[in-house]
Amino acid sequence: MSALAHRIGLRRRRSDRGVSLPVLAALAAACVFIVIGCLSSNIFAEQTVAGLAQGAVYASLALALVLIYRATEVINFAQGEMAMASVYIAYQLLQWGFSYWEAFFVTLAVALVLGIVIQVVLIRPVQHKSVIAVVIVTVGLFILIDGLVNWKWGGDIKFMQAPFGNKLYHVGAVTIARQDIGTLVITIGSVLILWILFQYTKLGLAMRAAALRPAAAALVGVRVDWMLAIGWGLAAVLGAVAGLMAEPSQFVLQPTLMQPILLYAFAAAVLGGLESPAGAVVGGLTIGVFLNLVGQYVHFITSELRLPFAFAVLLGVLVVKPTGLLGRGKVRKV
């Protein structure tokens, strides 16, 4: 090959991974702090594990928000209600005599289809009009789903079978609920499966391409509209996982199930950097653990102050580092 091409080849540049050193250092310090805390105090360890489980739920809903934000460039305000409706579908399946895990997987399949249908029927017609139009559709969807669920199942409290039972494990003097471990395994497992799909499959690559550069993706033969629809479907599945794992910790099922969780997920997504899937996961876990520890050790922050406090943190992030922990500024085309 020509000498010129070779010269180009020899000029290397470090690839930019987008994670800044101070952020990495802060996260590492936080991890060290938590490990030391867990080793020196049982209560600290218990609160941390419970916080991780809650955080994993926030993380998966936050990841759903990020997936849609990357593909459609809006926050899907109906994400929580879509998740809540999925839990009602699971509830209905349980009523019909399905076992819990049958109901779980059937619900995920239904959520996938519904997510795709919502994108095709409601989002696609307005997507190219304006961002605000899409936002309004998602707000409308919030109200629609809320209404439908209340109409079909009523607003009263329902009880669902707990997926993991009430068993407690004892590790030394630390008590860990099977529920928390199960929640962590299922949510982090789904996130990992999704990550593998996006990172290592042709479909995942095409979905990323369609979200990042729709015009260029179409030119290589990717059906962009279809990829965006699948993205909504996968986000709905993640939401359903979050909903199903959130329900047992609330003990009861009612139509408001996901509303506070959506707010935490929103905080998690912003904390992580709205464009960053890894950021959403880190953000969700961070918020879960942080709120639990603060609730335990800072006495004036009672459970009523949990949500406002989360948003105080969020405001702080937006002021200090608007791109979030792992987000990067918009990549500029050269």
């Binding site: 080849g9 391409a209 990549v331």
Partner: protein
């Protein structure tokens, strides 16, 4: 020589503004054909009309059948690789992922194609994990070519490959285009402002002026043509 691509009275518009007022042209199988013209003459729009990136009227025949107006993804699947202005590389993805996306329309293993691409662009292999956005302009142009080549297209549409490149790199890009044409039999329709180099690489050329074909013919003839020399070659 049979025509691989034929445009018959093609018009295209952006909103209310018509950018092409009836362009007809022909690209023979195995040819390199250039489209020349000033800014705003409709060169880019011609390529976009072919790949379906812009709404068009008129007839586009490709490989023996009329292309319906179903958008760029359908054009890509029928064997047209369009390297747009600004190269259309996925800046956020790495080199290997860009190449894999090039082969998106194809099934089965792409190992042979990667090996072939690496013959032409050896440096792509060692930098497969580098983010495409951190490549230089020339490197991105090469990557865009390599990605288009991964598609195993029947026809390559190349939009302003020289844009923003140093003269030495422009020569290099056209050398590779020529090599792909000669060694692989790739048919190329290239839009170019740099008429000099385009006429060297192409066997035939069309000159567009405000959305119409003003002149056409074999490159050698056009290069001698009075008005082409004055307007586009500058002597």
């Amino acid at each position: 020589m049979t025509a691989l691509l034929e445009l018959e009275d093609v018009t295209a518009r952006y909103g209310p503004i018509e950018a092409l007022h009836g362009v007809s042209l022909e690209v023979g199988e195995g040819q390199v054909v250039a489209v020349l013209g000033a800014n705003g003459a409709g060169k880019t729009t011609t390529l976009r009309a072919i790949s379906g990136t812009v709404r068009r009227e008129g007839i586009v025949r490709f490989a023996g059948r009329t292309l319906s107006r179903t958008g760029p993804d359908a054009a890509a699947r029928s064997g047209i690789a369009h390297v747009p202005e600004g190269r259309g590389t996925f800046a956020e993805l790495n080199v290997a992922e860009n190449l894999r996306l090039g082969a998106y329309t194809r099934r089965g293993s792409i190992r042979d194609d990667l090996a072939r691409v690496h013959q032409y662009f050896p440096w792509l292999e060692e930098r497969r994990n580098q983010q495409a956005g951190t490549l230089s302009g020339g490197e991105q142009q090469m990557l865009a070519l390599a990605r288009a080549f991964m598609q195993r297209p029947k026809l390559l549409l190349l939009d302003e490959p020289s844009l923003g490149l140093a003269p030495l790199l422009v020569t290099e890009v056209f050398r590779i285009v020529k090599e792909l044409n000669e060694a692989e039999g790739l048919t190329v329709l290239v839009v170019e402002q740099n008429a000099h180099i385009a006429l060297q690489a192409a066997q035939a050329a069309y000159v567009l002026e405000v959305g119409r074909v003003a002149l056409s013919g074999p490159s050698a003839e056009l290069a001698q043509h009075e008005s082409v020399r004055r307007s586009y070659l500058g002597y």
